[in-house]
């Protein structure tokens, strides 16, 4: 394998992994054939590919992920509930328990942190929906919980400590 082809194979890493797995081998073959013609024009084109096409492929994959995540969110009964619920606080938009894509995984992680002293029996309004796991709670749910049942600690650091303790106890 020539040095130029090795460099090209290395540069292919700038494409998303899915795209590379699918077409990387053929792109390398094509590059090898084209390299025989003359290299300057080819390298200019490769540069253009890396500047414009590689980011576009990343963007396409991100778009697909977002579409999938939104579809998943809309399928969740709990997420759709605010449209029909008389109490907007209790059934406010809740993050799903298993969001599929990277941007949503952070949200999922945050949404799974149990609030301090949380007990499932204390809040029938939230736990009445089977689609919502007990450990999942929305921000609005926390507000409602604290308003109705038990005031949260005033000090944010203490609240964080308690939430962290609950998180560790949950065997993640």
């Amino acid at each position: 394998m020539k040095v130029s082809e090795r460099i090209y194979r290395w540069l292919l890493r700038l494409y998303p992994r899915d795209f590379r797995d699918e077409y990387g081998e053929e792109m390398s073959l094509l590059f090898r054939h084209r390299a025989a013609d003359g290299s300057f024009r080819l390298w200019l084109q490769v540069l253009g590919d890396l500047l414009f096409h590689a980011p576009r492929e990343h963007w396409n994959i991100l778009k697909q992920d977002l579409r999938y995540a939104i579809r998943t969110l809309l399928r969740e009964r709990v997420f759709a509930q605010p449209l029909s619920s008389p109490s907007p606080w209790v059934s406010a938009p809740t993050l799903p328990s298993s969001a599929p894509s990277t941007p949503f995984s952070y949200a999922t992680f945050l949404s799974r942190i149990r609030i301090p002293s949380w007990r499932s029996t204390q809040h029938p309004a939230i736990n009445s929906t089977r689609a919502l796991p007990i450990r999942t709670i929305s921000i609005c749910g926390i507000v409602e919980y604290s308003r109705r049942w038990q005031p949260l600690p005033k000090c944010p650091s203490r609240w964080m400590r308690m939430a962290g303790r609950n998180l560790l106890r949950d065997n993640w």
Partner: protein, 114 residues
Amino acid sequence: MKKPLLPERPMAPAVFHILIALADQPLHGYGIMLDIARRSDDKVKLSPGTLYGSIKLMLEEGLIEEIAAPADDDERRRYYRITRAGREAARQEMARMSALLNHARLTSLRSNEG
């Protein structure tokens, strides 16, 4: 209501080139590139990223489909064939470009005036 000059969205040139290349026979990626270069007297040579980016898009939109490679060919090569939807899309693009040309011919651009 006045009919718009270009009712459909123009197709990307690379996509149209690929559809033309696949119109008469299935080809692999490199074959597509060679066909396009031959038809354009080496003026159009698609880069690997443009070619396979377009192929991916066209596969997703159902304009082309992948078929089994001939037994005697390199197994790493993947062959593509135009679909019925692809033919229809190419015909629409031809009609769009033809309409555009007809409009252009009605102007002073046709003759060597001015």
